[in-house]
């Protein structure tokens, strides 16, 4: 029986205490222990970005962090992106401009895009593409994703 580690972490503002095996990733624990399944596993090797979350303000792949490393840290996932009934402008615009088809990459992309706009409120198309290079999408060809982000950036600058 593998020894378990006691981890206290805050996810979307809620404090959780979990027991986890040391090799379990933050992604594993978010999904299987906390049943927050909005964050997706596409590859578990950091190549697709479907598992993107924010840890202590930093955009990361949750498959590339062990759950034990999240002890004492603040984690933000897709489930925390909307504030109650209010969607984040990115979420709203992805819906309006059809920035998603099957939707499996969408949580990761929304989290990554939100972090981009926090740092760079006026990105060029190229800057958006390079920032999102770590988020694979196979359905959309990226076009409407990029457009949705650019529209949102403009809207957020305006307000």
């Amino acid at each position: 029986m593998t020894k378990k580690y006691h981890v206290t972490t805050t996810v979307n503002g809620d404090e959780y205490e979990v027991l986890c095996e040391p090799q379990q990733s933050l992604l594993d624990v978010l999904r299987d222990t906390l049943t927050l399944t909005g964050t997706k596993e596409g590859c578990a090797t950091g190549d697709c970005g479907a598992c993107s979350v924010v840890v202590d303000g930093r955009l990361v792949c949750s498959c590339l962090m062990l759950a034990v490393e999240a002890d004492g840290k603040k984690v933000e996932t897709i489930e925390g992106m909307a504030k109650d009934e209010d969607l984040h402008p990115l979420q709203k615009n992805f819906l309006e401009f059809n920035g998603l088809q099957c939707g499996i990459c969408t949580p990761g992309i929304l989290i990554a895009a939100r972090e981009l706009l926090k740092r760079n409120p006026d990105p060029t198309e190229t800057e958006v593409r390079y920032w999102l290079a770590g988020n694979l999408c196979r359905c959309t060809g990226y076009d409407k994703i990029i457009r949705s982000v650019l529209v949102t950036a403009k809207e957020m600058r305006g307000s």
């Binding site: 580690y5 578990a44 955009l59 590339l64 962090m65 770590g134």
Partner: protein, 289 residues
């Protein structure tokens, strides 16, 4: 096989003691972007992971004696966001920027990139071209070595049991110096380098190159520091003729393999092309500095 143990010591000495005292396979956990992937794909089964991120020395970026001391576990993004370091060593930043996606750079470190010892590691050629040194801590104390002595083969380093890199030191830069790292990959991002070239050069007041270091990645079992390629630049104005000589010397130094990322023949050819392009960027930066 014993079960995995995870430790997060708060001092260098505590980390050294853990690593030196372990009997089975150990790994230092900095960013984890290689170690965790290797565990996930069953390439390694460590019995002890020593997470060094709680140790202050490995996480700092500080000016030191006109140069820069960068902790081995500073993340890629932290380094990329450090304006002063970016200004001083843009070529090193070129390399760091290419270690995977924004998400990967949010965790990945130069220490990990170097010690994972992939021949194609993106931060290593520029690190070597910069003449950086690594401060190693271990059971026998502390020592500083040139970074190019660390990787000894794919996946292998010269570190002894119990040793790990605590920080890197980048020397003070002479005026009119510039560095650059360029690589070839089939896609624009997210690929492992097929060929990588790091060039660091210094010009004198008349625009003649007085010093140069040329390092090649992904074309040999370890990074190559190519003296002949540097000699092709030194004493010249880094004009077209010098660049051609540089390309020839770089291609000649390659000892690449055929693998899923590129053929021998392709790598040899493209090394020369990339070396020229990297040199031109380094030259521009040297002229502006």
């Amino acid at each position: 096989m014993a079960d995995l143990r995870y430790e997060a010591p708060e001092t260098l000495n505590a980390a050294v003691a853990l690593l030196a005292g372990a009997s089975g396979m150990t790994r230092v956990l900095a960013g984890g972007t290689d170690v965790i992937v290797q565990m996930e794909t069953d390439l390694i089964e460590p019995e002890l992971l020593v997470d060094i991120k709680k140790i202050p020395e490995v996480r700092q970026i500080a000016a030191e004696n006109g140069g820069w001391r960068v902790g081995a576990a500073v993340t890629g993004m932290e380094l990329v966001e450090h304006a002063a370091f970016c200004k001083a060593w843009p070529g090193v930043i070129d390399g760091v920027k290419l270690i995977g996606s924004i998400q990967v750079k949010g965790r990945a470190t130069m220490g990990g990139n170097l010690c994972n010892a992939s021949p194609a590691a993106d931060s290593v050629p520029a690190l070597v071209a910069a003449g950086a040194t690594a401060r190693i801590v271990g059971p026998k104390g502390t020592r500083d070595v040139a970074v190019e002595t660390i990787p000894t083969g794919p996946g292998k380093t010269s570190l002894a049991k119990g040793e790990f890199i605590a920080s890197f030191f980048f020397p003070k830069r002479p005026a009119h110096s510039g560095d650059a790292y360029l690589r070839f990959t089939p896609r624009t991002e997210m690929d492992i380098a097929v060929v990588g070239v790091g060039i660091n050069l210094t010009l004198d007041g008349s625009g003649t190159c007085t010093a140069a270091r040329v390092a090649l990645g992904a074309v040999a079992p370890t990074v190559l520091l190519v003296n002949d390629a540097a000699k092709a630049l030194i004493g010249t104005k880094v004009d077209a003729a010098a660049l051609d000589k540089l390309a020839t010397a770089a291609s000649a130094a390659c000892r690449p393999i055929d693998d899923k990322r590129g053929t021998k023949e392709y790598r040899i050819k493209v090394t020369g092309v990339i070396a020229k392009r990297a040199a031109q960027i380094a030259l521009e930066r040297a002229r502006k500095s």
